[in-house]
């Protein structure tokens, strides 16, 4: 990697990048909530010190806020923790553009408009153009196609960690951009399973949930034995809805009705799934141990049997199920999490984009298993960011900004329809 043609020899870090005039606005905010707006400006500008530093920091950040977001209503003395999420985002952005000792060359903005309203987002985009004309480069990461098409010079389309298209913005229009995002990795395309033409509603409803942010009362409905897809761009309320269903298991509340025991297959293995101190067998067994108690103790043979059974059925590649879970590859850890859910008494299985970073062979094996289990009457709610996986689903709900915006049956499902509804913008 080179910055300004100079190779970076030292260990690269954010601090090094800062010193070379590169700033980044992260999606997770890097402000200190216990400090004021002005104090947060000081954090990245060590040169703001000595007598009167606060006044200078205040003036610096205020001037930038005024420049980018006129009428922002933020005071330099406000505690960041007391500001709304949108205003915090504004402070974070303004701070990235402030200049003191070192000059600023490049600002990377990761979904900067995600918590901004239409007006402030427009102000920001206009400012980005202005600063680019002033000689500062910007990298704008966004899922809002309009922003990209209207404000970018060049567009790089990335999918699954790879660059799939790179052209001048003028060569793209909305449809060609969507197309560029869709038509990828042909070789990995999975053969759609035999179409199971099945009438909806022949089996009883086991899940009905209105997402928390849904304003029109539309509900996600799953009948027994169905595989339901939750589609849309990443983190647009799909996981929230799954957790809502998980919490409502076995009982009903205003928004959700769930009948039957529920299990969840985590997508983020390390934070939501794996118990890193345990063996594979224990990781598989945890959801089911309550049904394996004999004389008050866990029946270790039963636990072993369950582990061995699923090692066969889902083909976990390990010499010994008593090995630590972390001895497995990522894909096999994921299989263990599937085994945990499928080996339990759960009739409804929630899947939180579980195939992230899993190899294609593993995926195919798991797809078969899911279909077989659904034939036996299990219901699956499957959140996925991979278009191909939706082919396995009987019915798909598309999410945007925490709401269900479209519903597609197995026949209606096309990649384009899903993308169009995911990106649909409120005019």
């Amino acid at each position: 990697m080179e910055i300004h043609g100079a190779a970076i020899n030292e260990k690269y870090s954010v601090a090094v990048a800062n010193s070379r005039g590169i700033r980044c606005v992260f999606q997770e905010l890097s402000l200190c909530p216990n400090l004021t707006v002005a104090e947060n400006a000081q954090i990245i500008h060590p040169s703001l010190k000595g007598f009167g530093w606060r006044k200078r920091a205040d003036a610096l950040i205020k001037a930038k806020l005024d420049e980018i977001f006129p009428g922002h209503g933020i005071d330099g003395d406000d505690l960041v923790g007391d500001l709304s999420i949108g205003k915090r985002q504004m402070v974070e952005i303004a701070r990235a553009f402030t200049v003191t000792a070192q000059s600023l060359h490049l600002v990377i903005l990761d979904e900067p408009t995600s918590s901004l309203d239409v007006v402030t987002a427009g102000q920001l985009l206009a400012y980005i153009r202005k600063s680019v004309e002033g000689g500062t480069s910007c990298i704008l990461i966004s899922h809002v196609l309009g922003e990209i098409l209207d404000y970018a010079d060049r567009i790089v389309v990335m999918k699954d960690g790879r660059v799939v298209a790179e052209r001048a913005a003028s060569e793209f229009d909305r449809d060609s951009l969507v197309a560029a995002m869709g038509n990828v990795v042909k070789e990995a395309r999975i053969e759609a399973h035999e179409q199971r033409e099945r009438e909806r509603g022949t089996t009883p409803v086991v899940v009905s949930a209105v997402p928390e942010k849904q304003t029109d009362g539309r509900a996600l409905v799953a009948h027994k034995g169905e595989i339901i897809g939750l589609a849309g761009l990443a983190s647009h309320g799909q996981t929230h809805t799954l957790l809502q269903v998980y919490q409502a298991a076995g009982k009903s509340d205003k928004r959700s009705r769930v009948e039957g025991p529920v299990a969840l297959v985590a997508g983020d293995r390390q934070t939501d799934g794996v118990f890193h101190l345990w063996s594979i067998a224990r990781n598989v067994g945890i959801r089911s141990i309550r049904s394996m108690v004999k004389f008050g103790l866990i029946d270790q043979e039963a636990e072993q049997r369950l582990a061995d059974e699923w090692r066969e059925r889902i083909k976990i590649k390990t010499p010994d199920m008593d090995n630590n879970i972390l001895s497995l590859s990522g894909g096999n850890q994921q299989k263990a999490l599937f085994a945990r859910a499928l080996g339990s008494d759960a009739e409804i299985v929630l899947m939180d984009d579980p195939m992230r970073g899993v190899d294609i062979g593993t995926k195919l094996e798991v797809y078969d298993l899911i279909r077989a289990e659904s034939e036996r009457g299990r219901t699956f709610l499957w959140y996925t960011t991979e278009m191909d996986e939706l082919n396995n689903c009987d019915h798909t709900y598309v999410f945007r900004s925490g709401q269900i915006v479209a519903e597609l049956s197995r026949n209606e499902l096309t990649e384009e329809k899903v993308l169009q509804s995911s990106f649909e913008e409120t005019a």
């Binding site: 870090s13 954010v14 601090a15 800062n18 010193s19 890097s30 402000l31 200190c32 909530p33 216990n34 400090l35 104090e39 947060n40 000081q42 954090i43 990245i44 060590p46 703001l48 010190k49 000595g50 530093w53 606060r54 920091a57 923790g81 007391d82």
Partner: protein
């Protein structure tokens, strides 16, 4: 904003809570025992506020970086013992010993950061080390405090009792250093979002060392001011200060995590704690209930805070 809205605003309530609890307690005392409302009365009731306030400030530095110090009481006992022996006999040796204590505190901060250790276990272990050294230096209660310390602590100022002035000075000095300097902002930021501070190029190790050393320094001041009042020392003289200091910071509006602290609040919290003792005496409640009352006040304040937080949403 109308006055009513301003008063019921959660943020205002939060920041007003420490002073309000202090004022309520003080007026209760004056109501029960009007004679306490005098220069002499206040002096007597608040004389131990100075060492407690200093220990509270020490604890506050540790809490700012999301740690907890269970050894500050023993440490104050140690510095008091050094003050009444080494410092009184040979000022040079005494000052060196106290400086070594501060350095040791900084080293513990470094160790905790370097090995990513739970501060409570380390400081609990260190409390035995401090106590052990104190017992070696001063096996039985005794020693004499240096005259100059006694002179300072016994200062008679017209109109305003000395403890109040001293507490105000402590509060203002620390308030300026931690809340108003640019490095102070960084130090507090390390409690609020350590990753962001590190990303911005600051050294968290250095910050931990600075904060622990500052705690050690105020621990030394606490020990010295304590022997200025008692004129002799004992290794166990400040065992309860660990509890007092934590309670003081919390009563003063400080949070356990997130770097939200207030030096002025912490000093007010320490004053409040000091007053509870006198209050119970005036109510003719047995001193047995003194620490219980302090625990109860702590819980009530935390409960009030939980209520306010719920309203903040």
């Amino acid at each position: 904003m109308t006055i009513m809205e301003r008063i019921t605003n959660p943020r205002f309530l939060r920041s007003a809570l420490p002073l309000a609890s202090f004022a309520v307690l003080l007026s209760l005392i004056f109501y029960v025992q009007p004679r306490a409302m005098s220069y002499f009365g206040l002096n007597l009731m608040l004389q131990y506020a100075v060492p407690i306030a200093l220990a509270t400030i020490a604890q506050m530095f540790i809490l700012t970086v999301n740690d907890l110090d269970l050894s500050i009481g023993a440490f104050v006992g140690l510095t008091a013992s050094i003050g009444a022996t080494l410092l009184a006999d040979n000022p040079v040796v005494g000052v060196c010993a106290l400086a070594a204590c501060v350095a040791a505190y900084g080293a513990i901060g470094a160790l905790i950061h370097w090995r990513n250790l739970p501060s409570i276990v380390v400081t609990l272990g260190m409390s035995f080390v401090w106590l052990g050294i104190a017992v070696i230096i001063l096996p039985t209660p005794g020693g004499t405090s240096p005259a100059w310390i006694k002179a300072i602590m016994g200062l008679k100022v017209p109109y305003i009792p000395f403890p109040i002035i001293a507490a105000a000075v402590i509060a203002i000095v620390v308030q300026v250093l931690l809340m108003h300097t640019s490095y102070g902002a960084t130090l507090r930021g390390a409690g609020g979002n350590p990753r962001a501070i590190e990303r911005a190029g600051w050294s968290l190790l250095k910050i931990k060392i600075v904060m622990y050393s500052a705690a050690g320094f105020f621990g030394v001041l606490s020990g010295l001011s304590l022997i200025g009042l008692t004129s002799a020392a004992d290794a166990h003289i400040a065992d309860r200060y660990t509890l007092y200091s934590i309670a003081g910071v919390i009563l003063g509006g400080g949070e356990f995590v997130g770097g939200r602290v207030s030096p002025v609040g912490a000093v007010i919290g320490a004053l409040t704690l000091t007053l509870t003792g006198s209050f119970l005496i005036f109510l003719k409640i047995s001193p047995d209930w003194q620490i219980g009352a302090q625990g109860a006040i702590l819980i009530v304040v935390l409960a009030l805070r939980a209520l306010i937080k719920r309203r903040e949403g």
